[in-house]
Symmetry: D2
Subunit: 339 residues, 4 copies
């Protein structure tokens, strides 16, 4: 049985495990004050070519989103996000639980644009409604699509002009940046947003996301929030060592490239077998439309999520590749489909 | 430089790292639905001799406390705790941030008793004040003391009689259970409380605490809370593998015994050098009173926390041993003190 | 200048003021323990023909909604409501501020039905999303429509079958119950819901809503919540006296009948002048579509809200009648429109 | 039966009721945008001799405290207050429910001083504990004492020097300002604090407190908070009319003077009967120590709160005078005590 369910079914890249072993006996200060965390942060600063950001390593994506957003907003301020946004659909109301409304925008692509945000602003005009204050996007999105540089620039400018915080959820940022269609760097991401996070969990780490806060107004007292939300690991070294490793010798991007290459192989293979797709994704999530009969057969050897029922006969499934997916696995899967 | 600052300065026990390596390439379901987590939970159920508990593996102590308490209480209900309680002093208002008041009881020993709790109940009589509903204790306490079985039984009975939830923070439960003065087992802890957690971070794990919920009324929908608070790790296997290892061949208790033995060696050594102690602790936290002059000298080769200024000349420091502390280190420290 | 802006532009019905004067010098217990509050509650119990409900008088609608909902739900539970719902659009995120997500259903009529709710339930299947638990409706709705008895019965049954709390916001319940199209009584409202509130502010009171909790599971400790949310008035008599007066000699329904009659006069007059309406409302809120040119002229002598721009030439405005609106005012307005 | 329970047992001053009648039929804008609220605010600005403050009328004391404090603080910031503080003891955890810890200082007088606050700051040094940010005092205090001008100046200076918000709960500010021992004006209160409120409920209004925000940093978007907390009354005129009346021809201070005079009469009478007092109060709350036997007799004709049991034979009771208390009532009470 092989799982195409997600990109976090395996452990960590072996280099990460080796780094854990190598550093294990050395005493380090707790709570992210260890040498590895400092080193990881420095490496990220070099990568994004910005010395003046604050970087915090946090255990997971929901944790990062709720800690960041609840720190950035006052209680009457709200988020704007796609209706497919992870914070709206798959975080069990974590943001609302910290007191903030999420105003959603309907989208088929997983992406939102300034025109849609303007409409939200238009009908939030006074103290009888929440004050929209933060624009949340995911990149790559929850449906595998990515923003173009032009789209990000337009959102960035719009946010600046409207005094909105521009926040990017990068749980799968690696997949976006390593995708063939990507026309920007991680440094561009930093330039264009107020804050974003660099996902580790879905790109070879055991756990961990690196939150980058560029906007000075959002920096103060952030460690209080990490601690208050239960996200300040006593052995912060665990996060430090992982990001230190991921950002040594380009490992982070190599893993994502491999992941995307495997997805491309799968996508092209499906296309050549004449399958259609629910969504036009460019990264490691693929949504082919397959007959329910074939889906049942596939279940013998593969696990995956049924994404959406198309009609009585067909459904879209989600196939996700990871840094550990092998070419032989893809080929075997495609050949089974071709029988 | 050797650190006596805490019991989480080193990495993980080598057996844990080996288990991570051994399991690394195997695909597992996410979010705690992996085989290791299930196995760890079964091992714990055997240990506490209770099949009917719910067990959840969570990344850290503050995370566990805030997730559990905010799930157990309705918004108008409050905690009762010692004024030294970790939730009151060292969690950055995490509990209040979920909406709940902590009513504190002054204590010199880190422990609280039914008589003190009764007083709290007496002056919370109607809807103009919060409703005290949960009694929080730590064991071992934040100052290294432990409850006796009789004390726990009295608290347990009092809570039952007064419809209070009895919750035990076991960040250092291993140290308590492995201490020479301990007259109960982990199964007793389960019998006497409504919920408690078994600390991993401070006893050889990279991270992780195992929350045990015995009271049926507190069980429902708990995974919603873990997810909502950002505590549901995608690679839950990381926690599962660690507790699986800790509860194989008694490793968990062996590590704590070693830790306590090292503390005893240190404590006896200090006594024989005629040092007094701020608090009469029996576990791996020791609070000797030392002249400021000597403290300054010690700082050359050792790091530790200054706990409390006694007078102009003396201070109490905190020395903490860990599962990795070596006898030679203790002896060297004592000999330096003896110069 | 006459205002058709809302139904709370004037003070209180003179009988209420007289009752305040008559009772003024008498000492009463505070916090709703006064004789008038008790009397008002008894009158409401008779009216709804149910002795076993808990009734609480609260200062306003948002206050009532947030206090009730935050008491009824656990932190991971969410509301389902129309996208036009007051709690979603005009309460500044009050519900989210207490930690709960509102899942909205798109509607043109201001009303929702079981089929729509079922869809919501379908895509909230596990702990990665909030748990839908409370269905919120307004009656009359925010756009002046009312539910039929059949619609309420279907919702009630659906909620019961799906273990959902059925909550009715009755800010304008009087208008609904006194409307020509209404085929149920306030006793029916009580029978069909778990909790609902009887609006006073928008039907002749200075302030005040009467929350009726029928479901026993929702009753406990509610006064703690009223106090905690700042809603427990020291001089609770102010609320008691008003509801006592409103429910003496049928005043409450007389006021609403008058209000609806004035709305009918206005509606029929507009129809006879060939105006169309944005929404087919039956109560005291009317949404005629009028040319912008005429709107500008009307502004000289009348104030009202522009509700929605229809196209470049036309807009829908909102006209609201109140218990104090006079027939001569309506006629004068219609004649000005007819020039 | 006469009640000495509190200062809110009666209705409103007759001039307030008359003002409600006089203004009743006039249409006014809702939500505090009415002419009376504007007029009331202007009168208060004249009184405190400061044009640049923001003033908001809010229904009650707990509502004001929770709305103000939750607006002023970020989630990790905490209040410092006396252990007797209303927000800590009698608001059902309202402040904690908005997420903020209250750090209490033990006091016998109901008052706190800079030295005590400094100690709190000393043990809150980093992100493992909350960040103390707001100093809350009540004046007159919950036990009837008042701060001297010197004490307020010291607190004010200390707060400024330590970047703390200085907030004064003025539920009984009228009693403080009208007390013989008071050496400052309401303008001084404004000068010395960042924000404070002027209590109406306990000084002749039906309900209502006027929050004055002087510190510019605390002003922005405050109306969002009022609305979000359910405190924005649709008929804000009700609050406006009352404060307009209270601040016309000095009524506010006349009522408080009368209240204090009645308290003085009662206090002196008790002294001349050789009664001792639990607390040395100067305002309208008096805490005589009386034998339980006499207390039982008094209960025939009077109601009051038992404040504290002194020993087996004696208890302290609380007697509160109000703007409606009559000299004959005091004399009758004293004569009954003297039998």
């Amino acid at each position: 049985m092989y799982s195409f369910k997600d990109d976090y079914s395996e452990g960590a890249h072996p280099k990460i495990l080796q780094a854990l072993i190598d550093s294990n006996e050395m005493q380090e200060d707790g709570y992210g004050n260890d040498s590895h965390t400092k080193n990881a942060i420095n490496k990220i600063k070099v990568l994004i070519n910005n010395e003046n950001v604050d970087i915090h390593l946090i255990s997971g994506g929901t944790q990062t989103n709720l800690t960041a957003i609840s720190s950035f907003l006052r209680p009457h301020e709200a988020c704007i996000a796609a209706n497919t946004a992870h914070i709206s659909t798959h975080e069990t109301g974590a943001i609302e639980c910290t007191g903030h409304k999420i105003i959603t925008i309907d989208t088929d692509t997983g992406k939102i644009c300034p025109k849609q945000i303007q409409k939200v602003l238009d009908w939030h005009e006074n103290e009888h409604a929440v004050k929209p204050k933060l624009v949340y996007i995911s990149n790559s999105t929850e449906v595998g699509s990515i923003y173009s540089k032009k789209e990000l620039e337009e959102l960035s400018l719009f946010c600046k002009n409207n005094n909105l915080i521009f926040y990017l959820d990068g749980a799968r940022l690696a997949a976006a940046l390593s995708c063939d269609y990507c026309d920007y760097s991680i440094a561009d991401i930093c330039n264009l947003t107020d804050a974003f996070y660099i996902g580790g969990t879905k790109n070879g780490a055991l756990l961990g996301e690196a939150l980058v806060i560029k906007n000075d107004n959002l920096k103060s007292d952030f460690r209080f929030f990490i601690k208050q939300k239960g996200a300040l690991l006593a052995k912060g070294r665990l996060l430090g060592i992982q990001f230190e490793t991921l950002f040594t010798n380009n490992l982070y991007f190599e893993l994502a490239s491999h992941t995307n290459n495997m997805a491309n192989l799968l996508r092209e293979g499906l296309k050549s077998l004449n399958y259609n797709f629910l969504i036009d994704s460019h990264t490691n999530q693929i949504f082919p439309i397959i007959s329910n009969q074939i889906i049942e057969k596939l279940k013998t050897n593969y696990s995956f999520h049924i994404w959406e029922q198309i009609d009585d006969e067909y459904s879209a499934i989600r196939l996700v590749t990871s840094w550990m997916t092998k070419e032989t696995t893809i080929n075997k899967f495609l050949s089974e489909l071709n029988l």
